[in-house]
Symmetry: C2
Subunit: 162 residues, 2 copies
DNA sequence: TTACTTGCAAATGATTTGCACGTAT
DNA sequence: ATACGTGCAAATCATTTGCAAGTAA
């Protein structure tokens, strides 16, 4: 870990502490380690994934999955994290410290490719304004097949229709 | 209902029957009425909503909610319907017979505004191609506040952060 | 001390599934 | 006749919540 990353984490941590203070919430070891792990791994986590990783990494912490859910919800509601919904299969969370981006998700293997496009963002804002709608977040996911999954069959056969 | 709508429904129904035949599934009264109701109401339905409406409209049918779920899943998997996920709060389905469009969703009251923008669609395809990704569907939801909900408080207070 | 947090286990709520009976083909 | 479909109730699974004990402020 180099000094730039350390600085980044320091800022993140300080933002988190501010958020907690503002809302009269407490800075606990569990909350700290959840933030730290999200930062260090820099991946998309399900609550379950993160829970198991924390349990493995910090056995003495004896963390409960409810705390993971509670903290992820806190982070998301305060815009320090974002989530991608996989419907019944749950959600995956990531920290919102990286620059904003969207996702391509392979329906077959779950691969997530990140991308970002300013033109689209600008168009979204323009459209929302036309409808007198205020965007607080957006969700743009391109679902489909990654390069390696293109050969699989759909669940239901479909024919060409007029 | 005018003759154009009737024609539209006839085509829809015929597509549905084809789909069923192709997959050796049966054309039942339940499946028919689910399709018909989705078409006639032309709204976004949760499985629960649709179940209650069907129960009220066709009391003698004695439809079960499991059948509604099964049929909506069938329609979605075969691309005759699409859904919007509301996370833990469930999904809303609509028929895919109308021209493609995306959604703005009010986080506060659940209002859904539909919109469509060709420029964005083209950009999406362009980006996917650059990543050798094949889009089968996309999800673009602008989440935020509609005109009438803009005065409410967030769950957690947030400060400006550098 | 006071109020917020935690882990645990139980509750919740949307969705799915096993099964015996019903029905389209 | 042969499968597939259905309603029902029970099961599932992600997520939330009540509670008693723990801990930050």
């Amino acid at each position: 870990m180099n000094s730039i990353e350390n600085l980044e984490y320091t800022v993140l941590l300080s933002n988190f502490k501010e958020l907690l203070k503002t809302n009269r919430l407490k800075f606990t070891r569990q909350r700290e380690l959840i933030l730290k792990t999200l930062y260090e791994q820099n991946e998309h986590f399900t609550p379950e994934d993160l829970y198991l990783l924390l349990k493995g990494t910090y056995p003495h912490l004896n963390i409960g999955i409810a705390t993971v859910y509670r903290t992820l919800n806190l982070l998301e509601e305060s815009s320090m994290a974002t989530s991608i919904s996989f419907g019944v299969a749950g959600k995956k969370f990531e920290l919102a410290n990286k620059p904003h981006h969207d996702h391509m998700i392979c329906k077959c293997c779950g691969l997530i490719i990140e991308f970002q496009n300013d033109q689209i963002e600008h168009l979204q804002i323009k459209i929302a304004t036309q409808h007198r709608f205020t965007i607080t977040s957006h969700l743009m996911q391109l679902r489909g097949l990654c390069e390696t999954c293109k050969q699989k069959e759909p669940s239901f056969k479909q024919e060409e229709r007029a």
